[in-house]
């Protein structure tokens, strides 16, 4: 790839540009789900972590997420320049040189893994290192440009934070941690495809084989519905293992029905088609925004139950 800038005029990178390089909005969700894993592990097992060590472990997850974001932006700067939505990012806009971005990504990767190891244990550090590799290399460099299932498999990278949080507290990763992983994993396709229905023209222009580009909007809408059904089932499994109590059950059921309602309406709409009405596209956008709220509230329920004493068990659980 060659050095490319959107504008000929030289821009001097500000602190804000370097923060943008770390994809702060994704980082917030990553940190939130990692905290949920950490709090749930502590609540379920009774093992407590030194508060300062827990804070440093969370900081390590944030740095790891930022590192993966910087590596992603370094590698994808050529296609970011082509797409309108991403053309103002720090590298294509000329604010941050590519070599600085990759240096930042690699140094932050090392620092984050080292801090995680110092603050918790080798398993959490190893999982953090693997999740950075998963996003930066497996997803960004391999899957994203080679298969329409890119964000399905790549979604695994974003699903690791609660497992890392759990491992930081207990030093192991039981079934409950992997259930939290599965919730994010099956949430990713309907979340991301809702966005790609709106921007598939951009992906086509950049040569990225997103599902709406390769298989059409209709097939994408069907797969969004299928993954939402799976997500609804997976999101209720914490109730069976005892990880989720009454509060979680109600939140997961109500939000799950809401998410499913969006998925059905989008499936029946023409969102993403060339003759789609503005209302159809608005519906896809609403589903995308609702999906963010969904994940936030699901994990907020986990934190509320295990961190704020709101856990009222439904069953004895199978744990």
């Amino acid at each position: 790839m060659t050095e490319m800038t959107a504008t000929e005029e030289k821009r001097h990178g500000t602190a804000g540009d370097y923060v943008q390089l770390m994809k702060p909005r994704i980082m917030m969700l990553v940190v939130f789900t990692a905290v949920a894993g950490l709090v749930a592990a502590s609540g379920v097992t009774g093992i407590s972590m030194h508060p300062l060590m827990a804070a440093i472990a969370v900081l390590a997850v944030a740095l790891g997420s930022g590192a993966a974001g910087a590596i992603n932006m370094w590698y994808d700067s050529d296609i970011d320049l082509v797409m309108k939505r991403t053309s103002t990012r720090p590298i294509p806009s000329g604010a941050v040189p590519r070599d600085e971005a990759i240096a930042m990504g690699l140094i932050m990767s090392g620092v984050s893994v080292m801090l995680m190891w110092l603050a918790s244990n080798w398993l959490a550090a190893l999982l953090l290192a693997f999740s950075i590799f998963y996003y930066g290399v497996i997803y960004t460099m391999w899957l994203k440009r080679s298969t329409p299932q890119n964000i399905v498999i790549g979604g695994g990278a974003g699903a690791f934070p609660p497992v890392i949080g759990w491992a930081a507290v207990t030093g192991n990763t039981p079934l409950d941690a992997w259930i939290l992983f599965a919730i994010i994993f099956f949430w990713t396709p309907p979340h991301f495809w809702a966005l790609s229905l709106l921007a598939h023209g951009e992906y086509q222009k950049a040569g990225v084989p997103m599902l709406p580009v390769t298989h059409g909007a209709k097939a994408t809408r069907f797969q969004m519905l299928a993954y939402t059904v799976i997500l609804l089932a997976v999101s209720l499994t914490p109730v069976m293992t005892g990880l989720g109590g009454w509060v979680y059950a109600v939140v997961a059921a109500v939000l799950g029905i809401g998410f499913l309602s969006f998925a059905v309406r989008v499936w029946r709409s023409k969102a993403g088609d060339s003759d789609a009405a503005p209302a159809d596209m608005k519906l896809a956008r609403s589903m995308f925004l609702f999906s963010i709220l969904y994940l936030f509230l699901i994990f907020a329920a986990v934190i509320a139950e295990h961190g704020a004493g709101l856990y009222f068990p439904l069953t004895g659980g199978v744990r």
Partner: protein, 62 residues
């Protein structure tokens, strides 16, 4: 006897002349890098101190 191809003193590469904006941006970057390095040192010191004071050394984590 002098070499005709030898560059004159004023032909040697000069240090890059940065514009005031570029110089200010460079200073800001250096400041943030310095602060980040300091934060890293403090965090490593803190984790080490807590581990030593709670009796969980490096061997205990392996």
């Amino acid at each position: 006897m002098t070499d005709q191809n030898e560059p004159k003193k004023d032909e040697f590469p000069q240090p890059a002349q940065l514009s005031p904006e570029a110089r200010a941006a460079q200073k800001r970057r250096n400041l943030w890098l310095g602060l980040a390095l300091l934060a890293f040192v403090v965090l490593v010191a803190l984790t080490t101190f807590i581990r030593l004071s709670t009796g969980t050394g490096i061997a205990g984590r392996m």
